[in-house]
Symmetry: C2
Subunit: 113 residues, 2 copies
């Protein structure tokens, strides 16, 4: 992404960080990035970890994360074909605040009405 000509501010409608916040501030993005901290996983393994996600939604989440450089998709030329998903450095860093959000929710769930 080219350098911004104004400080990044997610409150500004035209700030590029608004769409990245939209991407990351998402339950499935947070859970998918968190699952991949354990190491590269296949689609089925990610799907098992994110209980209840549909293949269609998981496909879209992984594609969006890959498009934004957070996840790397590697195809191994084997028979049958093997495809793995792994965090990039950016993905691993983005997982930090997302994991903090998830663990805050888990630790405070009983405070909610």
């Amino acid at each position: 992404m080219p350098a911004l000509n104004a400080p990044a501010d997610a409150y500004l409608a035209n700030c590029p960080c608004r769409s990245i916040l939209d991407l990351l501030a998402d339950k499935w993005s947070a859970l998918a990035l968190g699952a991949l901290t354990a190491g590269p996983l296949r689609f089925g393994e990610v799907r098992t970890r994110l209980e209840g996600i549909s293949p269609k939604v998981l496909t879209a989440v992984l594609r969006r994360l890959a498009e934004h450089g957070l996840v790397e998709r590697t195809v191994f030329p084997e028979i049958p074909l093997r495809v793995e998903y792994a965090l990039t450095e950016l993905g691993r860093d983005a997982n930090g605040p997302l994991e903090a959000l998830r663990t805050w929710v888990e630790a405070n769930i009983e405070r909610f009405p």
Copy 2:
């Protein structure tokens, strides 16, 4: 919320924290809670702060945050009627990890493709 009979785990489909993560892991929830850290605001003031949000979406976001005990809506019996939104203690606490996510995105936006 009644005490859970198993440790909270957002990866489990039936864990109540899944719906709270869904609520908080949302661009507008994050921005609305962040805006209210400055103190109670009226609807129009929140809307001005969250550039680009529609009244319909903001109404739904504030209602959801209030239903979940994160925001308090106070109606002042004045003419014209005055309505203010303010963070509860739970809302102020939930803003912690959300603010960390927002500031991480703002600080790292140029690392994205």
